[in-house]
Structure formats: structure tokens, C-alpha cells
């Protein structure tokens, strides 16, 4: 397995140094492992802090900037960051209006953010949390760690970030973030396994001619292994699985997300198929975002995330955003 790295142990700090070099509009603290808006804390604004294991770029560090996150805490590859990072990030961005933690539902992320919340509250920070758990591939959520947080994280960070930028108070930002998190659903497919730097090879064996349906974003195998399917068949399976659990028939925001190693040419083809299936199911699509946003290192494959959106959510979605990974309206 060839990787463009120095040594596996320094992959995360090496990437942070590169991020610092490329993005002078961000403060990248390599030692404390936090990425912060350079103009933080922004007076009168609720701050958004997220974080999680590395390997999902541009999530989360690439979404720091006006209109989205105020800070991100990158952990080791596929490993939750530690509470010290989150407490430092919260202290760096809190303007006094409070901080919203955006947490993906994985045991490690939940435990570390909970510990951090307790510590930050002790230091006088007003805190709210939103838990993202959109992955419908986890069906037996009472006998597992629960539905995973995947693509909907982008919707939550963008929409809550826009609301915070308008000056909304913490309770309202948190309520809207939860509304997005609770109504979004995702389904992912892997055409290859990803390789972590520490392992140096694929995380599971996927024979040629087979794919995994219902994967998460950490190289774990999925719900089911099948013989290779066409883009149209995969779109049908993914959209069917998402719509089965989508709690509304409103027009949707659609994220057609690449897992890291699928070319945009294939991803746009897949996006066409997703729209075809949605049209057949009579689900209007209000907005579509296509690209590699919530990735899983070098995994080939894609995920579909849908979020029912009313006028307010669409207005917030369209609001200006200026981050390394997402940028429009500015």
C-alpha cells in the first residue's frame, strides 16, 4: 500500500501543518490539535465546535470558517479526540454567547465530548450538544452503539452555523441543529476497503466483484455483502433504505458524498441515478451537493444523505459560507 506520508505516527500533525500553511485565515494549533477561526471569538455569536477522528477530511477542520464551525478538534486517525482539545477549543471560541458541540454518535466521541462538556461548564462556558445519528444501516440500534453519525454532520454544521452567524441565541441554534440531526438519514456503500496509515493495508478483504452495502465511515464492514451492482442498482438500494426511515415527505436536501477514492465522474453518474430514483418515488429535491465531504480515507464508494427541508432550512443552507471545504455566497 503506497501512501503519501512520512511515517504513520505523524500523519495528523503533518496534515495540520499543511493546513496552517494553506489557510492563513485559520489558526491551526498543531500542539494542542485544534483548528480555530482566526477572528474567534466572534462577538455576540454562538460558537460551534465539532471534532472526531481524522481520516474524514474535509470534515471537520475543513468546515471551520464564517458560516459554519468556529473550531474543530481532530483526533488520531479514526480515533475520537480527547477532552483537553475540546475544552481548549471551547475556551478559544466562546464569546460569552455559549458553545454548541456537534458530536457524531460513536462511543468514543460521545464519552470524550461528555467529559469535555463537564469540564468546560465548570469553567463557566454555556454549553449545548447535538448528537448526529443518521446512518440507517444500523438497524438494531438498541443492541448496538446506536445509529452512526455520517453525512448529516455536514447539514448540521452548515445550517446551525448559518443560524449562529445571524446572531440567534444558543437554545435556538441547538434546537435547529437537533431538528436537522434528527430528521436526516444516510446510507453508504463501499466498493473497496480503506487502509489506515497505522495498519498499512486494507482494513477488510473485499474480493473483486463484490461490494459492501451499509458501511460506516471507519472502514468497518457493512450490513451485507453482495455481488457487484450497477450505479443505478446501488442508487436504488441506498435511496430505498433512506426513504424507509425518512420521517417526512417534504422536499429534501441531498448530499451525494464520495468516500474518498471514487472519482467525481462516477459520483455525478451516481447522483443522476439518485435523482432518478427520488423522482420515481415522488420526492422533490430542493438542493443537491455532490463531492467528497465526509470521507473514509481511501475507500471507494459513496453515501446518500437526505434531509427534509422547509423554507427556513433552505434559507440557512443557501446562506454564505467561507471554509476550506465548503464555500459559496461570498
Amino acid at each position: 500500500m503506497r501512501m503519501l506520508i512520512n511515517v504513520p505516527e505523524t500523519v495528523v500533525p503533518d496534515a495540520l501543518r499543511g493546513m496552517a500553511a494553506a489557510h492563513p485565515e485559520l489558526t491551526v494549533d498543531v500542539d494542542r490539535r485544534i483548528v480555530v477561526r482566526r477572528d474567534a471569538p466572534v462577538a455576540g455569536k454562538v460558537a460551534l465546535v465539532s471534532g472526531g477522528g481524522s481520516g474524514h477530511e474535509p470534515l471537520h477542520g475543513g468546515f471551520v470558517g464564517p458560516g459554519m464551525l468556529d473550531a474543530a478538534c481532530p483526533g488520531e486517525v479514526f480515533t475520537s479526540p480527547v477532552p483537553d482539545q475540546m475544552v481548549a477549543a471551547a475556551a478559544a471560541v466562546d464569546s460569552g454567547e455559549g458553545v454548541l458541540f456537534v458530536v457524531k454518535n460513536y462511543t468514543g466521541d460521545v464519552l470524550n465530548f461528555d467529559m469535555a462538556a463537564e469540564l468546560a461548564e465548570d469553567e463557566g462556558v454555556r454549553l449545548a450538544k447535538v448528537l448526529v445519528q443518521d446512518d440507517v444501516a444500523v438497524t438494531d440500534s438498541t443492541h448496538t452503539a446506536g445509529r452512526r453519525g455520517t453525512g448529516a454532520t455536514l447539514f448540521v454544521e452548515k445550517i446551525a452555523g448559518a443560524l449562529a452567524a445571524e446572531g440567534a441565541p444558543l437554545e435556538r441554534v441547538a434546537d435547529t441543529a437537533r431538528r436537522v440531526a434528527e430528521s436526516s438519514r444516510s446510507f453508504g456503500v463501499a466498493l473497496s476497503a480503506c487502509s489506515t496509515p497505522s495498519k498499512g493495508g486494507p482494513m477488510f478483504e473485499l474480493p473483486p466483484g463484490e461490494l459492501e452495502l451499509g458501511v460506516g465511515i471507519h472502514g468497518e464492514p457493512g450490513r451485507e455483502r453482495r455481488a457487484m451492482m450497477t450505479s443505478g442498482e446501488i442508487a436504488q438500494a441506498a435511496v430505498d433504505a433512506v426513504l424507509e426511515e425518512l420521517p417526512s415527505d417534504q422536499p429534501v436536501l441531498a448530499l451525494v458524498n464520495g468516500m474518498g477514492a471514487t472519482p467525481l465522474l462516477e459520483l455525478y453518474g451516481f447522483c443522476g441515478e439518485v435523482h432518478r430514483v427520488l423522482a420515481e418515488r415522488r420526492v422533490p429535491v430542493a438542493r443537491t451537493l455532490v463531492g467528497n465531504y465526509v470521507t473514509s480515507l481511501d475507500m471507494a464508494g459513496a453515501s446518500v444523505t437526505l434531509c427534509p427541508a422547509d423554507e427556513e432550512l433552505l434559507r440557512l443552507w443557501d446562506a454564505p459560507v467561507r471554509t476550506p471545504g465548503l464555500r459559496w455566497g461570498v
Binding site: 488520531e76 477532552p83 462511543t107 470524550n112 448496538t144 497505522s198 495498519k199 472502514g219 468497518e220
Partner: protein, 226 residues
Amino acid sequence: MSGKVTNGAGEGTGGSAEGWDAAFFARWMRAAADAVDREADRLTELDSAIGDADHGGNMRRGFEAVRSELDEGVPATPGSVLMTAGRKLVSTVGGASGPLYGTLLRRTGKTLGDAEVVTGEELAGALSAGIDAVAQLGGAAAGDKTMLDALRPAADALADSGGKDLRAARTAAEKGAEETTGLQARKGRASYLGERSIGHQDPGAASAALLMAALAEAGGEAEGSA
């Protein structure tokens, strides 16, 4: 350096008929660091089957930080040694393992209180309290294919021997860890695999068995030097 004794410098003898002092607990933590370092590749291999292939590296990073902290000076009491180690793990490991192992050591240490020497029975009781805290934090029960499946039998074996038989704790932990192979995961990332998690040993139970083996090792040294 008031309030601290230096391990290996003759002030702490470790184990005795009356019980164990801070030096013994520091030796336990160092033995754990050695064991995790030695077995890191195996832990990662287990984790790549049903998790995300990082448990060995994460645990090594954490226990090396604990070792460095103890090299700076060993806290005065058994309880403070474990609380210091637990805090260090929370700050350096990440993932679920950081908070869970950190909580295990912090709660065990807190339960031991300010005593300069603790008996085996006190250790067994404190360890049990630490394990309860882990179960509460992680929401896991016995048989969920987690570190608890190694820790709980170890604490029970220790309690059954009146806190004397550290080797029995080690043996029970290793047996418990091996038996996770046949279980279906209900917590953590392995739970997403459902039945596909059966047939693989739980990496967290494997590292918990290493922690109990390190305790027996520290006890063996204490007996040898007593």
C-alpha cells in the same frame, strides 16, 4: 520533593504482609506500559478484525504518557498513583478506550482514598468500584463483548481470594478475554457488525487482560523482593 516517594530508590518496598504502597502501584502501571508496548501489534490486529485497527497504538500512546508522568515522580499514595494514571489516559488515548480506562483507574484510585498502604481486600473492593463506573459510563453489561468481560471475572477472582491471589485475577481475566471470541458485540464499533463480530476476540478485553497480567507481575516482583 515532599509528598512523593521515588520508585526503586528504596523508600517503597511494594508489597508486604500488610499491603501495598504507592511504589507497588507505580510498578503495576509500568508493567502495564511494558505489556501494552509488547502486545500493541496484537491488539491492533484484533481491532482490525472488528474495529478500526488502532487499539494497540492508542493504548501504547496512553501508557507511555503514564510512564513519563511516573518518571517525573511517583505520587505518595496508591490512590493518587491510579488517579494520576487515569487522568493521563483520558488526556492522551482518545476513542472510547481513553475515557473507559481513565475512569477505571480514577475511580479505583479515588475509592482507595488517602491511605499510604492498602490491603488486598481494599484493592479488590476498589477495583470492583472502578469496574462499576466503567459499566455505568459505557452502558455495557457482562456478555456484551467488551473489556468488562475480562475485568469483572478478574475482580471477582481477586475478591474471592480475599484480595491475595493476583495470579488468579490474571488467569480469570485472560480466560474472560478469550471467551469474548464466541460473543456477539453489543457495544462500541464492533456492534455494527452484528453476528459478523462472532469469532473474533474483543480487543478491549484483550488489553484489560494485559492490565490484570501486569498487576500479577507487579505482585510477583513484590513477593520476590519481600
